[in-house]
Symmetry: C2
Subunit: 261 residues, 2 copies
């Protein structure tokens, strides 16, 4: 798509788009991944392309729940790996949890390619600086992050076919799953299995957003960066979480943008 | 993306998505075409996936202007050909104007492929039934639609590089251009050349929407189908056209959806 000037007001959005175009060419994404990204772009545009106060609260809530869970897991798909893989590896290193590649349109080739990409990202993150506030051995914490998804041996109840496949030692036995960019059916199935589900979804009206335990209405790259800060800070939960109120605040922002406020 | 059940409430949206996935595989689309489609999907979702009253007024206004123009032209890109090619050929047959393939990310291969696809669509439309209300020789009218874009010899003033290229006997000398799914820079350049510009754009806040003479805030497939009916009916213009009011009405619908109305 050509060079993007440093000064372009929508530079981060255009860079994200370019990353996805490149990833599609490398076979990392499902056919419809770019369409899904475009839907997100439109909602992010209406949200002002910034993390709202209510999204920030949701990120803090997600962090507190991940840190206090017994068996947290981060589930990633192609778009998530491409846009936020490194920061989610940082989150996993701090939380001490595995990352599972779990795909709606599952193929062994894409699982393998995404695991390879994640392993590269993990090596890069391990060799880089620790997040501010982290005082332990960073390279060791990062290198300990297990990357799951290959040889998946479990299944998500209530789903059919390839989209039900998961890892027993990952999503299968998790008590909380962070699933950025998840689809509604799977979000619902995970909730019905009794798991807490944290999603990152730019559409506050989507079924995923409405089904989740905690919905972060934010762009996945920004949300993952903010989540790194939160898990390092280690704030406790803020009391009862009202997910409906969080969605309502996101809708107010969109309605405000549409009303020209 | 698998079978789409006849009863699926969002069947037309899913079929459109599948058409684009197929077209991308055939090399008809630019890298970012599916992202652009996704953005449109999100806005259409907020608009209720139906043609609003104000979009219908814009379609009627566009029809009246196309029918009374000296040199109307329909400019199409990959997404437009794939999603609305046949209906735009019907419009061109009734109006008696050429269709020009004009691409933001122009390559000779994509121009050639899209012209081939349009020629196939033209043959199919010519062999099919005339629209209700048409009494002349349909096959002849359709076969007369010129398909331009190859060997482009003109340029759109105020633009640089390949995106400025156009046909002198098409966009170059047009007094009105129907450009579904246009980008803001080109829309602005065409307006600055003194042309009337009719766009079809699902985002009422986009620069394209705000720059155009007449903005149809509607999904391109639905809008093109409605436009066929309008040009056959041949209604006159409705007096002064207030494009700002049309955009404002679309924004009200989106704000209403976001407010849960």
């Amino acid at each position: 798509m050509g060079e993007i000037p440093e000064s372009h007001p929508r530079r981060s959005s255009l860079l994200a788009r370019q990353k996805l175009v490149d990833a599609a060419a490398e076979g990392l994404l499902a056919d419809s991944a770019m369409i899904a990204h475009g839907r997100g772009e439109a909602f992010d545009y209406l949200l002002g392309e910034q993390t709202s106060d209510s999204a920030r609260s949701a990120i803090r809530e997600a962090s507190a729940r991940l840190l206090t869970a017994e068996r947290p897991v981060i589930s990633v798909n192609g778009n998530t790996v491409v846009l936020a893989g490194e920061d989610l590896i940082r989150v996993a290193a701090v939380v001490g949890c595995p990352i599972e590649v779990n795909l709606y349109y599952r193929t062994p080739e894409r699982i393998a390619r995404l695991l390879t990409r994640l392993a590269e990202q993990r090596a890069s993150v391990a060799g880089g600086p620790a997040p501010d506030g982290w005082s332990e051995d960073w390279a060791k914490a990062v290198s300990s992050v297990a990357l799951l998804g290959d040889g998946a041996d479990g299944s998500i109840e209530g789903l059919e076919g390839a989209r039900a496949i998961c890892c027993t030692n990952g999503i299968g036995s998790a008590d909380i799953v962070l699933v950025p960019l998840e689809d509604g059916d799977r979000c619902e199935a995970l909730v019905e299995m009794g798991k807490q589900v944290v999603v990152i979804d730019l559409n506050p009206l989507s079924r995923t957003s409405r089904m989740a335990t905690v919905t972060i209405v934010d762009e996945v790259t920004r949300a993952a960066t903010a989540l790194v800060d939160e898990v390092v800070s280690g704030h406790a939960a803020q009391g009862d979480w009202d997910n409906r109120a969080a969605l309502s605040e996101a809708l107010d922002i969109i309605a405000g943008a549409s009303a020209g406020e």
